[in-house]
Symmetry: C3
Subunit: 146 residues, 3 copies
């Protein structure tokens, strides 16, 4: 664990976000990221998010209708099911290898421009942590602002 | 809409590209991005593209043989078909939920280094906006240069 | 080929990494990237990797158990098989069109924050070049540090 954080390093351009994750699926982190970005006080710039895991990923998706998130999750679960006889890496549970595959198909880092001090998200875009395991606990997302 | 643009903010390192999109598929935006990058006058740097939508994406692909683009499009349409009985989000048309899934499987942001004032694309690489809906209209890509 | 490199341009923030690739699959480039990043002498920053090809990609994945890599490779080969009757782009060999599709589904660029002078990789994360062709030769990854 690195000894930094926005309370001790006021002007650091790197933030470490601990995201509590209780279940598989999409977790909206838009407000949290927006708040940190605004606090940085940059007018124009680039916000890069990086997730430090190989069984969860980052996703920009529709922020409005929850049925989009449900369908997305169900579709990916059908494409990458548990208990596929192809898997040899099975010691960490039936949701482990699917989680690695899902993370390979989705994003580990995303860069969002900052305009007028805010993230340049489209009207219908939210930022999500996509958890691919059933019982994950905490996930860490590193945020770089420049 | 943000009140910026390269005509009013000559030295802004952010550009907003409006991309007219008439049909589903890959739209080559290489020249447009290259032109803007060169105009910025940076010798070395990083060009980040970010698309403000959840049913279109960014793609670096083969710039030469159009059959690659056709096969890519047809393959993804087969993987993520319309009218799949799994979808519950159906009110915005049969191409809407497939478009969200396709965008989740592809890139929302791409960062390309600048070398000697030009994008460091490989010989066979072009930059594409991948439209996943049939009748999209205009798409917005934000370009950040640093 | 651009006339740069860390021997001639000591303070350049761009590196060109030539990666010898002998077979399809995941090639671990973590040490190589870490070494270059440390050599840059930045305390905090962002390391962006960009691969100049359309039939190989970049991947952050589990760095420990090789069975994860095998399963990942086998799963993707099953999803995107050779000799699919859908392909029309077949002149460059049976592994060519699958390679383009695989590269479209995975990352062409990845940005990793630098903290305390090192890449902020998670404990179980390694950086891989994912080669999608059988006989590729050398691949080029551009590394941008800022």
């Amino acid at each position: 664990m690195h000894p930094f954080g926005h309370s001790t390093l006021g002007e650091a351009m790197i933030r470490q976000l601990a995201i509590p994750v209780r279940r598989q699926g999409l977790h909206d982190i838009t407000k949290r990221v927006e708040e940190e970005a605004r606090r940085a006080g940059l007018n124009e710039g680039l916000c890069t998010l990086y997730i430090q895991h190989t069984s969860a990923s980052l996703l920009i998706q529709e922020n409005c209708d929850p049925s989009v998130r449900d369908d997305l999750e169900n579709w990916l679960n059908r494409l990458v099911p548990e208990n596929d006889s192809l898997y040899t890496h099975t010691t960490e549970g039936p949701d482990d290898m699917p989680a690695h595959i899902k993370s390979a198909l989705t994003a580990v880092s995303i860069s969002i421009p900052l305009i007028d001090g805010s993230l340049a998200l489209g009207t219908w875009q939210g930022i999500f942590l996509w958890e691919h395991r059933h019982h994950a606990g905490n996930r860490t997302v590193i945020m770089h602002l420049a």
